[in-house]
Structures are given as structure tokens and as C-alpha cells.
Symmetry: D3
């Protein structure tokens, strides 16, 4: 039995709230159960120096956690003057994942920055962030299309992300903190709505895992991505 009483293949309640704050071109509050992340998409009409003049756009991401988004207070990275390795790693993952959703050639020389700030953490913050950031990105893209800044939609396929793990010997979906801190294996999967893999990051926390276990986890992830893509679409249609 899972601590939350969920079935092995059951997601937590997923809520996606658009227009959560008013300034950003895309602003989403995404909730996977008690994990809550504010994802904003900011559009700037320029690209990094190394890309100037190529006619292509750029997508990048930054991730952060409010100091008391967690059970015990974490040091504020801005005050310390240094981001933790974990923060840098997740920022890079989000950026790579969202770039995979777009044809950057169709974005023009615009940069979209996705800021994902965790206001409450209960496991799975990076997968919630990617899932929410896609919706914020889509809103920003729709704004660029509506304004005529870009002519064709650069989105190749929606993307979403989910964690899977092996908890007490059983592959389970969407681990919350109680499970995550005790799981044998932790796998984060980013996929397109069309079913392709964008990122697969699996770590054996205790014991090495087998190819069979990996495939069982990937199957769970595949099912979940369908549900998350549906939730994203419902939010964008509302």
C-alpha cells in the first residue's frame, strides 16, 4: 500500500491554473497533489549573442524553490550567492525539455524564459514544473501568433513529465515526498503527447534496477503522459 492510499498507476490530483499572475506572457500554477509550482513564460525580442542573425529563437528555463517550500527551511540561494547543483541540474533539464517541444526556426529571434518557482514541495517538483511550463509556453506562443510577431506555430508536440519509482518492490507513478524519500529507484520521464521520449533519467537509489523494471516504469510513465497531456489541453481550451 502507498502512504497516500493511491493505486500504483494513479496520479495525484493535477490542477493547472492559467493566468495565475498578471504580468507574464504565460503564467500557470501547476499542482500535482500538494506540490505547487508557479511557471511563467517571459518573451523578449532578442536572442543570446551566439545566435544573433541566424533567425532562430531560444527557450531557456530557471528553477527555484522558496526557502520554506520544504519541511525544513532551505538557505535562500540568492542570499548565499550560489545555486545548488540540484537547482542548476533541474533548470537545465526544464530548458532542454521545452526546447524539444518547439521548432526554434519558427520562433524568430525571440527568447522565451520559463521561470519555475516551487512554492510548496511534496515530491515531483521537476516533473510538475515541466508540465506546467509547457502550458505557460503555449500561452506565450499563442500571444506571439495573435500579435502577428510570428506567423506559424513553432510547437511540434506538447510535452509533459512524470516521475516513476520502485517503492517497496512495486513500480509506482508520481511519487510524493513520503514515497520518494524511501524509493529504491527514481525515474523522471519527459515525453511528447505523441508518445516519444524526450528525457529519461533513472537513478538507482539503493539497488541497481533491471531492464524489466525499467520497462515496467516506462509503461507507467507512458500512460501518465496521456493523462497529463489531456489535462494540459483542457486547461488551454478553457
Amino acid at each position: 500500500m502507498r502512504p497516500s492510499g493511491r493505486q500504483p498507476d494513479q496520479l495525484r490530483d493535477v490542477r493547472i491554473t492559467r493566468n495565475f499572475t498578471k504580468h507574464a506572457e504565460g503564467s500557470v500554477l501547476v499542482e500535482f497533489g500538494d506540490t505547487k509550482v508557479i511557471c511563467t513564460a517571459s518573451v523578449e525580442n532578442r536572442v543570446p549573442p551566439f545566435m544573433r542573425g541566424e533567425g532562430r529563437g531560444w527557450v531557456t528555463a530557471e528553477y527555484g524553490m522558496l526557502p520554506r517550500s520544504t519541511g525544513s527551511r532551505m538557505i535562500r540561494e540568492a542570499a548565499k550567492g550560489k545555486q545548488q547543483g540540484r537547482t542548476v541540474e533541474i533548470s537545465r533539464l526544464i530548458g532542454r525539455s521545452l526546447r524539444a517541444a518547439l521548432d526554434l526556426n519558427k520562433l524568430g529571434e525571440n527568447t522565451i524564459t520559463l521561470d519555475c518557482d516551487v512554492i510548496q514541495a511534496d515530491g515531483g517538483t521537476r516533473t510538475a514544473a515541466i508540465t506546467g511550463a509547457y502550458v505557460a509556453l503555449a500561452d506565450a506562443i499563442n500571444g506571439l501568433l495573435a500579435a502577428g510577431t510570428i506567423k506559424t506555430n513553432p510547437i511540434k508536440s506538447p510535452i509533459a513529465a512524470i516521475s516513476v519509482g520502485i517503492y517497496q518492490g512495486t513500480p509506482v507513478l508520481d511519487l510524493d515526498y513520503a514515497e520518494d524519500s524511501q524509493a529504491d529507484t527514481d525515474l523522471n520521464v519527459v515525453m511528447t503527447a505523441a508518445g516519444g521520449f524526450v528525457e529519461v533519467q533513472g537513478t538507482a537509489e539503493q539497488e541497481a534496477f533491471s531492464a524489466d523494471e525499467l520497462n515496467a516504469m516506462l509503461a507507467l510513465a507512458q500512460k501518465a503522459i496521456g493523462e497529463l497531456a489531456a489535462a494540459q489541453q483542457t486547461a488551454l481550451d478553457s
Copy 2:
């Protein structure tokens, strides 16, 4: 006429939501109109090295803005590795103000850290932060009293804060961004509910101001603090 149509002595709608996130000992979302700040109070059973063994407690604060809490995206201070001067200045102001609310001798050797993170900015973020942080602090103190960690309530007087300014020649209360960016004078006032001044910080943005103008602004602030203290008490009683 004010851009918002408010009367000169009229506050924006003030909303104080307790228990906004689940981990902190005090967690408040404070809204002054479209300005929204998450204020959390975190309790740790220790004091900074220079205070050890004195039996007194400590209160400190850190302020931050999400990169896209503002009209154009600000650089993420954690990524840059350095806080702006304004951030440092406001963090210090919040900390000093909240320490003035307490008798630190009654807090025992505990530290309470107030994190004030702006998720949407529309002027007056520091005064909203102080007003919300007091409620988070009160919740944390009540928790310490309930747990028996401390025996007597260290709160000397509730405190709250408001901005006042001279906009187009008229002293006005609680400036939003549209007013703030055009005001001649900007005054931030922190007061006790009992009517004493804790901090008075006034800056002439264009022309120097007179003693009469200062007194007119202070009178507006005094009235507002009463309303804010009532809103704080209502929130704490609910």
C-alpha cells in the same frame, strides 16, 4: 484623480490568507490590491553564534521577487549570484521592523526567519510584506506558546506598514505602481497598532518636501495603520 479612482486616503483591498502553504510555522498570502506576497515564518531552535548563551531570541527577514513578478522580467538573483542593493535594503527593513514588535528576551534562544517573496508586484511590496509577515510571525509565536516552548507571549504590539506619497501635489495613501512611478515623494511608514512610529523612510523623488507635507503624509499613514491592524486581527481571529 488617482489612476485607480481611489480617494486620497483610501487603501487598496487588503486580503490576508493564513496557512497559504503547509510546511511553515506561519504562512500568509498578503494582498494589497494586485500586490501579492507570500510571507512565511520559520522557527529554528537556535540563535546566531554572537547571541549564544544570552537566553534571547532573534528575528530576521529575507525578501525576494520572483523574476516575473514585475512588468518586465528581472534577472534571477540566485542565478546572478548577487542580490541587488534594493533587495538587501528591504530585507533589513523587514527584519528591523518585526524585531520591534517583540520582546526578544521572551523568545528564548529561538530564531524566527521571515521570508517574504513577491509573486506579483504592483507597488508597495515592502509594506505589504511587513504587514503580512507580522501575521505569519504571530502564527509562529502562537505555535511556540501552544507547544510550551516559550511561556509568555513576546509580542509587545502588532505592527503594520503602509506607503504614502505626494502624487500630483496631493498626499495619497498606498500607492500602486502607476502612482509610485510618478510620485514626487515616497514615504514608507511602519507603526505599531498602538500608534507609535517604528520606521519612517521618506524620499524626495523630484522636489524636496516640506514639514507640512511630511505631517500630512504621516497623518494618512496613522489612519491606515489602524485599518491594517484591524485586518490583521480579523485574520488571526478567523
Copy 3:
């Protein structure tokens, strides 16, 4: 009785020495009693990137303390790689105050940087710094006028600054360290020679202060600014 034997409304001896060092366009040693600050004004024929092409000038300031300007040695900020919050806060105050003395439109695209370095501290370093920096600024402006770089004098009004406090229940002027470390309230006031307020920053160190106390302190400040403005003018005339 004040530790120094001064009357409540009595300034310490104020000395302003121009041309204290030889390289800067303005170089002043300002002394408020035992507080000694070197203030230099450096002119550069350019403005920060965000102001280019607007035809306006800029004034900025940086404050520092020699490590042993104080009773016990402070860490050298350059060696630590980080300025203290207090340093940043005072630098910003000095810059804002001096900008208020000028019509930046008449300065052309020139930047004047005011460096205020405390070589001996005995309370009131920031107010001494502002008072001395004005004289260094005036010397630099006069140099620009003499060289024909600018045509009209951008100085709107001289400015000066003083601290006031409530010491053992009595409002007193120009606190030295012995008083400052024990005062109930600390108020720093920047004014124009013409009597307008530029900055008012008051902090209750122990107990909140009343409007009457504030007004008594402001009256003391107003008197002092007249004396300081006279001392500045005497120095500039010599």
C-alpha cells in the same frame, strides 16, 4: 548630560578640507568631531548604458570603511568578496541624496562618482559623508563649468545631512558613537540648504516614537542644516 558635554542642539566641530588628495576632480576630508571621511568626486565623460543618448548625466556613490576605522577591526569587504547590507544601503542613500542636489539634464552625458571612505568612525559617518560629498561634487561641477564642458550650473540647491536621536529621553543632535549605541531612536535627515527635506530615515531602536518626538527631532535637524550649509559655503569660498 551628553557624554561629550555638548548641548542637545550642539553639533560637533565640523571641518571641511578641500583638495585633500590630488587626483580627483573634487577631494574633501570632512570631519564631524572624530568622524573622518574622505569624499572624492570623479568625472567620467559617459553615462550608464541605459541612459545613453538621452543627453542627461548621472551621479552615483560608493561608501566604504577602512577595516580599522572602528573600535574593533571589521572584515575587509574586498577580501571577503561581498559588501555588507549596511554598506550597500548607505551607498544608495548618498547617491540618491546627491542626485537630488542637481538637475541632471544640465549635466550633459557625464557621470560623477562620489567615493566616501571612512578613515575614522565615531558615529554619523553617513551624514558626514553626504555633507562632504556635496562639497566634492561642487568642486567637480565647477571644474566642468570652468572647462566649458557644461554651460549652465546643474546645482539646484546645496544639500547637507545630519543625524538626530533621542538619548535618555531627550532629542539630541549629531550623535557620536557613545550616544548612538545607546539611543532610543535614530533619525538621519538630508535637507537642502533652502530647507526642504530630501531624505528622512528614522528607526526606533528600542521603543516606538511619537509624532511629537519626530517633530522635535526634525526641528533640531533643520537648525543644523543651516549651520552645515554655511560651513560648506565657507569651505567653497576659501
Copy 4:
């Protein structure tokens, strides 16, 4: 055809030189073709503060590249004062992977730090680093056993790592720089010699990849790990 003329499942020449430098408890030069990494293991008789008194050991890793290990000179991270995100990410990967090789309870309160410094890069530096670091770690462990510092061997299973990718539509093993910079998918796999997965990190560089492609890549990796584990054992036996 691969640029190097290798078969899809063919590794580059692997060379493992022990005792490459004289000071470290383990010192290995590992070469995967033209990729050359110095891996040292340093033993210290203490653990990080958060682990003190638990009787367990710790393994950590740091990765770096000499500025001219690459085709164009990279900035020296020490001079810049900041490690790149990629550097941090790889350091964390190496550390996690090597910890998976050990039962930390059998290491006593000792810390082993693995420094992996790339002196020449031609693709696959992180997998070469992990493969070489294991040998340096084994040497350090053997030294601790020989000295009687620890009584039982904490190694659970040797580990090694290899990259796999999809190059021009074909899954290929051990990509060199010419392939890596053009691959559609990049997968890094860390495995135990016994055939269990420790880390699986796959990224779609251009197009999303399918479960079939993933499984084909994992099969290649599985074969390669056997060869690498044999090379490690041969080096340790010599």
C-alpha cells in the same frame, strides 16, 4: 558508416593506467580512444558534518576539464569563479554512480573524493571518468584494507559507464566527438558489472525517441559494460 570506421557496437580502444601520479591513494589515467581523463581517489579520515557519528563513510566526486582539453579553449572555471552547470551536473553523476558501487556502512567514517580531470576530450568524458574512477576507488579501498583501516571490503559490485546514441538512424556505441555533435539521441548508462542499471540518462537531441530505440541502445550498453568491467579487472590484476 561511422566517422571512425568502427562497427556500431564497437568500443574505442580502452586503456587504463594505474599509479599515473604518485600522491593519491588511487590514480588512474583512463583513455577511451582520444578521450583522456586523470582520475584520482583521495582518502580522508573524516566525513561531512551531517554524517558524523553514524559510523558510515562517504564518496563524492568533482569533475573538471583543462581549458584546452577541447578544440577551442574554454574559460578556466577557477578564474571565472563559477563552475558551469554541465560541470556540476557531471560531478554529481560521478559521485552518485560511485556511491552505488559501495556499501557505505563498511567504509567507516572515511571520505573518498574522486577527482576526474579531463586532459583531452573527444566525446564520452563522463563515461570514461566513471569507468576510470572506479579503478582509482578500488585502489584506494585496497589500500584501506591493507592498512587495516577497514576490515571488510565495501565494494558491492564494480561499475562502469558508456554512452550510446542514435547516429544517422542507427544505434551506436561509445560516440566520439564527431558523432556526438551530430547524434539524434544521447544516452549515458552506468551499470554494475553484474548487469544492473545504476543510472540511465537519455536525451533526445533532435527528435523524440521510441521505446524500441531505447531498448536497442540499452542492449548495446549492456554488452559494452561487460567489456569495460573486464578491462577494469585486467588493470586491477596487473
Copy 5:
């Protein structure tokens, strides 16, 4: 002819003012012509962690320049968050030199920090700093002896420093900025009053120098150190 009209073996006017500021255990203003440096000695009753319990003392130094001590304003290192290489190098030189003046075993577990801050630069700041720092150090030592904190005088020999160079083919003493910026060779020499070498640092700025030139420069330095040691003694006796 030298720009200043001095003879090749002629020092600039040397002035040493003790008790220049009031807080430090030793405080000296040293002037070599227009080069002016404030040197303070601060005593702390502790040693760095790596020396604890050994009964020996420590002497260290930090060097800085006020931003406008030079002809064009230098960036403030504290604001930039990083000291220049030159600053670090000179700090280390001053510290090493002053340690050579003392028998650290006789200092007890005390640390003396020498802060040398250049308020006006005209060449030779490091040699002026060392010469002045010795006097500040001697004052601090005398204070420790007078207070009975230490029993025997740890000073082995006074030290002083001077620059020598080859200017337009002629070895000259104590280069000012006009000479220094054009010299072929720059040699800084630290010596004991007794005539021993403590540091010799020579750099060929344009052409390599010969052993004969080196010896001619060292002879000039030797003569100068005698004069400087006499000036130090006169100051200490006054």
C-alpha cells in the same frame, strides 16, 4: 635628468606620522613624496585555526587602494566582489615581509593584522606600505609589552622597503609614477635595518637586465634602507 629633478640616489621626502587615527593599536600615515598610505596594526588575541595551541603568533596584511587614489578612478574591489591579482600579490608581500621582522614564537597566540590603504598613489605604494607598516607594528608590539600581554620583544630587526629601477639607462632610487611608468626595470627590495635581504623582486619591463645592473640597483637600495630605518626610528622616538 629625473622628472622630479632628484639625484639618482635621492629618496623623495619621507614623512611618518604616528597615531594618525585613534582606534588601531598602531596607526601610521606614511608619505613617500606624493604617495600616501594609511597603515594600521590591529591586535587580536587569537591565531588562525591551523596554528592553535602552538603558542606562536601570526602577522598578516591586507592592501587596498581608494578608488580615486589614482589618476583615473579604479573600480572599487569591494563592489566588484573580487580583488585584483596585483592587490593579492602586494598583500602577500607585505605580510611575508613583516613576519620576517618578528620572532613569532615570542608573540604568543596573538594575531596582528596590518591594513595598508593607499589614499594617494604616485609610485612605490608597496614599499611605502611596508615601511609604514613596520612602524605601526612596532607601536602595537610596544602596546602588548606595556600591557604585559607579552614578556619579551619579538622584533628581530626593523625592516623597510624601497623601489629601484633603471630609468633611461641609469639606476635610480624610489621611482615616482612618472618614472615608474617608463622604467626598463623595476626592483622592489625589502631589507632589515641590519642590512640583510628579506625580499628581492625584480622585473624586466622592456629589456632583460644584467647582473651588474642588478648589483648597482641593490647597492642603491642598501643605502636607502639605512635612511628609511633612521626615519622609522626617529618617528618611534618622537
Copy 6:
């Protein structure tokens, strides 16, 4: 007797291996006994901003040590975010020394960066680095000449460097770590092959040294430079 059994005027075995790594325009492994340093020369077709348009080139250097190049592991400077003072000082020494070997006017607007990374330290790393860096520089220069990027050879004279010291009262050449850590005096000398001094840096570690001792050490250095210059030439000819 020296710990190594060498004669006072005997160098350790010197080995210079060109083309040690494949990417750099010059790449040398230099060995002075057990001291091993990788020196690479990287050419970039640009100069620092302050030199643009002058037609001259630039040479700069950076020095580093692998964390476990030494007997006990040193902190990784890149991870700490700060270079030690010693590192900065040696980097500057190498850069100055190599610039002295060239007529920068003949280099065109090209920058050559010399990276000297110590992989194994046993005393004398800075002198080995300079000696090896010269060979890497010569290779890079020869490449520029061969490619026709520059027309005339900018090398004025080869340079090399050696350490000398006073060990147990006797001047000895090329100190290894066992001697260096106990020497009374440490002198690093950089010379041209033609016999001119480029840098002379001597430090009294225990007792001040005399002019006679200095001259004895310089004579040893002079002899050694001839041998090192021959070894450089042999390597370049092979």
C-alpha cells in the same frame, strides 16, 4: 647532502614532451624530476578590448594545480569559486615572463594564452611551468608563421626559469619539495637564453640573506638556464 643525493649545482632530470595533447596550438608535458606540468598554448585571433586597433598582440597565462597533484588533497578552486593568492601570483609571473620573450608588435592582433596545469607537484612547479610554456609558445608561434598569419618571428630570446635556495647553509639548485619546505631562502629566477634577467624573486624564509648569498644563487641559476635552454632547443628540434 641533499635528500635526493644530487650535487648542489645539479638539476633534476628534465623531460620536455611536445604534442602531449592534440587540440592546442602548442602542448607540452614538462617534467623536472617528479614535478609534472601540462603547458598548452592557445591562439585566438583577437586582443583584449584595451589593445584593439593598435596592431600588437598579447600573451597571458593561467596556472592551476589538480586537487591531488600534492601530498594532501587541495580544495578545487573552481568549486570554491575563488583562486588562492598563490595561484594568482604565479599566473601573473608566468604571463609577464613569457611576454618578455616576445616582441608583441610582431605578433599582430593575436592573443596566446598559456595554461599551465600541474598534474604532479614536487617543488619548482612555477619554474617548470615557465620552462615548458616557452616551448608550447614556440610551437604556437611556428604554427602562425607556417600559416602565414604573421610574417616575422616575434621571439626575441628563449626564456627559461629555475629555483635556487639555501638549504642547510649551502646554495643549491632546483629544489624539490623535501628541500623547499626546509630551505632558508627561496629564489626563483627567469632568464633569457642569452643570459639576461627577466624576473628575480627571492624570499628569506627564515633569516635574511646577504648580497654574497644572492650572488652565489644567481650564479647557480645562470648555469642552469643554459642547460634548460639547451633542453628546450633539443625538444624543438626533434
